[in-house]
């Protein structure tokens, strides 16, 4: 692979192997990782498949549950609360999207912080703000991991985060801040994104627009982390997955670029598994399960 690309798959393989070793040191996973999909989730089947594969590599039993769309909010919540109390469940993943009648925030809050492997409970987010980086939102954590992979020193690094979503942009900003970076958060109401991104040693993009980040928006030598996943149909009528970065042009300016696919995506899955290991350790420390 062109050394200017950061190979997410090899980073992911390393993290999964470390996670597997971590579980072995605890005499194996204490229980299973539950994935909850509510209603029709055809469009995210590939993500669930990737998570199942990651779990297998990390040595965690993966239980992918498909709940009927007719379940009410209260019924969903009751099932989650039951899993909170079930010692054979290490962690709970709530797949999105959910049907319209389900309040996803409220369900995420129902997942106990010790089982919140996706880092989506407000308590988990609050912990990140307080620099407790144990159960972090996976995509944000994967992005930080990939910047570290470049060897750049995060202390004092100028980082521009484009996109301020609650799932990626904001937690990534807090995590990078905790590592000592100077962080600027840009979004669709920013007057000139380029004026900010051109000054950055590292640029992270999560806007959901193909080819959003162009070569003239990047400082020579910077690291570019492409968090976008967009499906496009090219001239030949074929559909493929691209990120938010005009990768072929940007790679000529930047020192590092994460490819899509094969960049942030696989690392995200491996962080989910690492979070499951952390969750098990915390449950042991809290006396929920035997060590």
């Amino acid at each position: 692979m062109d050394p200017r690309y950061i190979d997410g798959r090899s980073v992911s393989a390393r993290i999964l192997a470390e996670t597997k070793a971590g579980f072995e040191a605890l005499n194996g996973a204490s229980g299973r990782l539950v994935s909850i999909s509510i209603g029709d989730v055809e469009e995210i089947a590939v993500y669930i498949r990737n998570q199942a594969r990651g779990a297998e590599k990390a040595g965690i039993p993966f239980d992918d549950q498909y709940w009927p769309a007719e379940l009410t909010q209260d019924e969903c919540k009751a099932r989650i609360v039951e899993m909170n109390d079930d010692p054979s469940v290490i962690g709970i993943i709530l797949q999105r999207p959910v049907p319209d009648h389900i309040n996803v925030r409220s369900l995420q809050s129902a997942i106990h912080p010790l089982k919140d492997v996706e880092g989506m409970n407000p308590a988990s987010i609050g912990n990140i703000v307080y620099n407790d980086l144990a159960l972090t939102p996976c995509t944000a954590a994967a992005s930080v991991e990939l910047i570290k992979e470049t060897g750049l020193e995060l202390k004092g690094l100028e980082v521009v985060m484009i996109g301020h979503s609650e799932i990626v942009g904001k937690p990534a900003a807090f995590m990078l801040m905790a590592e000592g970076a100077t962080v600027t958060v840009c979004h669709h109401m920013t007057r000139s994104v380029a004026a900010h991104s051109r000054r950055a040693d590292a640029v992270l993009v999560a806007v959901g627009i193909p080819n959003f980040l162009k070569a003239d928006m990047v400082k020579p030598g910077a690291a570019v982390i492409d968090i976008g996943i967009n499906q496009i149909t090219d001239e030949s009528g074929e559909t493929r997955i691209v990120g938010d970065v005009d990768t072929e042009a940007v790679v000529e300016v930047a020192s590092w670029v994460t490819p899509v696919p094969g960049g942030v995506g696989p690392v995200t899955v491996s962080i989910l598994m690492r979070n499951a290991l952390t969750a098990q350790k915390r449950q042991i420390a809290a006396g929920w399960i035997a060590g």
């Binding site: 609050g126 937690p171 801040m177 979004h187 109401m189």
Partner: protein
């Protein structure tokens, strides 16, 4: 001097007036009286002054106000038990434990024991997290950043900060980090800078909104300020003032006020800027909590 001076005392007084009249209405309509409990451990003179002024302000607002003064050698377990009691006390909407606590007590543990729905300081990690995820309708925003945002809205005459660059200097849990969330929620583009930032003066000069919260007296110089910028100085530092006589001191902010006032469009003085807003927002948060208990809408500021 060209800058508009943002008078925190005046804005704080307006907030208190709103709280007072909304409290009267709340009591009349629902017979719910906002209740605040302040807990202080030990006899630190500065803390006693703060606690007294909070109690006085609460009474002025028409709140039910109780102060618990515990001896310096109170055990952590006893303090936690008192917090639990207040969590269960239906007459109390806001619980405030005055910091710092004596060394033998774990501050974090005490704060995390306060019920999030009574944490009017906004320090519980559930409230911190909700601010991050934008669930502000059920959260409490920490008082100093909340007050800073009120001042900023007054100074700029608008609440939508789209297209504006904000630079926050300082990344503390109680000011810098909540400011990032609040400014983003107001659509500003936000940079959080700190002691490790490479070219801090240069970065500050890009700011349409400059928030200083580092705790270093007069660190931010006038030539760091972009002409016309709005400057919010959160710092309160005591420095020697030999010109006032031997052993005298005075309060200054993190911004070199005289020079910055020449350049900026609007600026908060120290004292009399952000300071008075903090206690006003504490009262506002307590009223909000009572309104949530009564099931009525709380005023905005």
């Amino acid at each position: 001097m060209s800058a508009q001076v943002i008078d925190g005392k005046e804005v704080a007084a307006e907030v208190i007036e709103t709280v007072k009249s909304a409290t009267q209405k709340l009591i009349k309509d629902t017979s719910v009286t906002p209740g605040i409990a302040v807990v202080i451990v030990g006899e630190d003179p500065a803390s006693q002054v703060y606690v007294r002024s909070k109690g006085k302000k609460a009474t002025e607002c028409g709140f039910h106000s109780v102060t618990h003064t515990l001896p310096e050698d109170t055990s952590e377990a006893d303090l936690l038990a008192m917090v639990e009691n207040l969590n269960n006390d239906a007459a109390i909407d806001g619980i405030l434990v005055q910091l710092p606590l004596p060394d033998h007590i774990d501050e974090g543990k005490v704060i995390q024991t306060i019920a999030p729905e009574k944490d009017v300081d906004g320090f519980h990690f559930i409230n911190v997290g909700k601010l991050g995820t934008g669930e502000t309708e059920t959260a409490f925003v920490p008082c100093t950043p909340a007050g800073s945002m009120v001042l900023l809205r007054k100074a700029l005459g608008k609440s939508d900060l789209s297209g504006l660059n904000a630079v926050v200097v300082g990344r503390s849990n109680i000011v810098g980090k909540p400011m990032l969330n609040l400014l983003l929620a107001a659509n500003a583009t936000v940079t959080i800078a700190h002691s490790r930032t490479q070219d801090l003066p240069g970065l500050c000069r890009t700011a349409d909104i400059l928030v200083a919260a580092v705790g270093r007296p007069e660190m931010i110089k006038g030539d760091w300020v972009k002409p016309g910028a709005a400057v919010i100085d959160v710092g309160i530092n005591r420095i020697p003032a030999p010109e006032k006589g031997e052993g005298k001191s005075r309060l200054v902010g993190d911004v070199s006020y005289e020079d910055a006032a020449e350049v900026s469009g609007a600026i908060t003085p120290v004292p009399g800027g952000v300071g008075p807003m903090t206690i006003a927002m504490l009262m506002a948060n307590t009223l909000t909590s009572a309104c949530r208990r009564a099931g009525v809408e709380a005023p905005t500021y």
